[in-house]
Amino acid sequence: MGETVALLGPNGAGKSTTIDMMLGLLAPDDGTASLFGRSPADAVAAGAVGAMLQTGSLIRDLSVRELISMIGSLYPQPLAVDEVLELTGASEFASQRTQKLSGGQTQRVRSAVALVSNPQLLVLDEPTVAMDVEGRNAFWRTMREFATRGKTIVFATHYLEEADTYADRAVLMAHGRIVADGPTNEIKAMVGTRTIRATLPGVELDALAGLAGVSSVDRRGEAVVLTCADSDRAIRALLDAYPSARDIEIIAAGLEEAFLTLTADDAQASPERAPATEARR
C-alpha cells in the first residue's frame, strides 16, 4: 500500500503553486523542484506522474471510452480502459459523448483520466471541490483502491476532515511555507482545537483555566470562551463544576484560524495565549 499524503492549508497557502511546480507547469523562482531524482518535466515525460487538476472539464465529441483510450495511449504502462471504467464507476456511461455527461459523471471521468495513466505518483489538486457528498465518498473509495496497488497519492485540500480521513501523512502549508509535517492524527491534534463558548456570569477565569482539557480562557461580556485541546473532557468538566452554564456552543476551529495560531507562534512565542477566534466552518 502506497502512502497517501495530504497537502493541507487554507486558500492562498501555496498548495496549487507547489503542485504546479511538482508537475513542471511552473518553474520555481528560486531553488529546484525534483521528482524521483529528476526534473518534473522528465518525470512527466516518462509517465511516472499522473494528475487531476483543480479545475477542468473534458474535451467534447468523444465517448468516455474513447477519451480514456486517447489519454491512456500516451502513457507507457496504462491501465486497461475497462478496468479504469470499472474502478471509477464510469462503465454505465462509457459510450456516452463527453459533452452529454452530468456534473457527477464528468468528475468520475476526470478521475478516470488521471488513473488510466497508472503512474507511480498521483497528484490531486483539491479533487473534491466540485463534488457532492456521495461523489466525494465514491471518489475516495476509488483512490484508496488505487493506493493499495502500491501507488503514492498526494492531494491538496483545505478540509482538515478530508486529510484526517484519507491521508496517512499531512503536510501543513501556510503563506507558502511548510509549518508542520507528520502523521495526520498528530497534525489534527495540533490544529484541531475546539472552542467552547458558554454564558456563565461572575466566574473566576483562573478557575476555568484549571479545568481538564482547557488550554486558555477568555471573557466576552457575560460569556466565557474556552480554547480546548480536548473539548470532550473540557465540556464534561465544565458542566460538572458549573451546572448553571447555558447557551453552550462547541465550535471547531477552522484551518485558517488554526494556521493563524501556528504561524503566530513565532511572533508571540506564547502558543497558549493565542486567541482562538470563532470558526467559519
Binding site: L25, V44, D61, M70
Partner: protein, 245 residues
C-alpha cells in the same frame, strides 16, 4: 508510434463536430456560387487572363482553407479554457505530436474545403488539366503552412470569446488584401501590400492555368519568411501558456 492513437481521436473529434463542419465547408461554397455565378461568362477577369469561375475558385479556396487552418486556434482556445491543455502538458505527449495532430486536423479540413470548391468550380465550367489541378492543390497546401502556425499561436494567446472575432476579422482582411473578392491588378497600393502576404499567393495559385509557374521566387520567399516568423511565435505562445486560463 505513440502519437498515432492520439492523432486518430483528434481527427475523429473534428469530423464529429457537425455544426463546425457544415459551416466551415458550406460558407465558402455559398459565397463562391454568389460571386462566380454572377460573372460566369467572364473569360479574363480584371485583365488577368483567368476566367472568373477559376479565379474565384482559387480565391474562395484560399478563404475557406485559411478559415480551416485558423479554426485549430478556436479549438485550442476552447481546450485551454476547459483546462485540457494543462492536462495534456502533464502527460508524456511530446509537443511535437501535439502540434502534428493540430496541423493534420487543420489540413484535413482544408483539403475537404478545397475538394468542395473544386467540385463547385467544375460545376461552373472550370476545366484544367490533371497537372494543373495537382499543381494548384500543391501550391495551396504549401501556402497554408504559415496559417497552420498562426492558428496555433492565436489559440494559445486568445480566449474563446475573443478568438472568433479575431479570426473572422483576420481572415476577411487577409482575403481582401489577397485578392479573394477581386483581382488586385498589377500595380497600386493593394497590389504592393498583397505581394507580401501569404493569402495573396494562395489566390495566385489560380495562375497555373496560364502555363509556366504560378509562383515566382518572391512568392516562395514570402511564404518562407511568414512560416519561420509565425512558427516561432506559435512555439513561444505554446511554451508560455502553462498557467490557468
Amino acid at each position: 508510434m505513440i502519437g498515432l492513437t492520439y492523432i486518430r481521436y483528434e481527427l475523429l473529434r473534428t469530423l464529429r463536430n457537425r455544426r463546425f463542419f457544415v459551416l466551415s465547408l458550406g460558407f465558402p461554397l455559398v459565397l463562391y456560387f454568389l460571386i462566380a455565378g454572377a460573372s460566369k461568362g467572364v473569360h479574363s477577369i480584371g485583365g488577368t487572363g483567368i476566367s472568373a469561375p477559376l479565379y474565384f475558385m482559387a480565391g474562395l479556396a484560399s478563404f475557406g482553407t485559411m478559415s480551416a487552418m485558423l479554426s485549430s486556434g478556436g479549438r485550442i482556445a476552447t481546450e485551454r479554457a476547459a483546462g485540457w491543455n494543462r492536462q495534456l502538458r502533464i502527460s508524456p505527449l511530446p509537443p511535437r505530436t501535439y502540434f502534428r495532430a493540430k496541423v493534420i486536423t487543420s489540413y484535413m479540413m482544408a483539403l475537404l474545403s478545397v475538394a468542395a470548391l473544386y467540385g463547385a468550380g467544375a460545376a461552373l465550367g472550370v476545366s484544367l488539366s490533371a497537372r494543373e489541378w495537382l499543381e494548384m492543390t500543391g501550391l495551396l497546401l504549401v501556402g497554408l503552412i504559415p496559417f497552420a502556425a498562426l492558428g496555433i499561436a492565436l489559440g494559445h494567446v486568445l480566449t474563446p470569446d475573443s478568438i472568433g472575432a479575431a479570426m473572422g476579422g483576420g481572415v476577411s482582411l487577409l482575403a481582401f488584401l489577397g485578392g479573394t473578392w477581386f483581382p488586385l491588378g498589377n500595380h497600386g497600393f493593394l497590389h504592393d501590400v498583397g505581394q507580401y502576404l501569404p493569402s495573396y499567393w494562395l489566390v495566385q495559385a489560380s495562375h497555373v492555368a496560364l502555363g509556366g509557374s504560378a509562383w515566382p521566387g518572391k512568392a516562395w520567399l514570402v511564404m518562407a519568411v511568414w512560416t519561420v516568423v509565425l512558427s516561432s511565435l506559435a512555439l513561444r505562445a505554446y511554451r508560455r501558456d502553462t498557467g490557468r486560463v
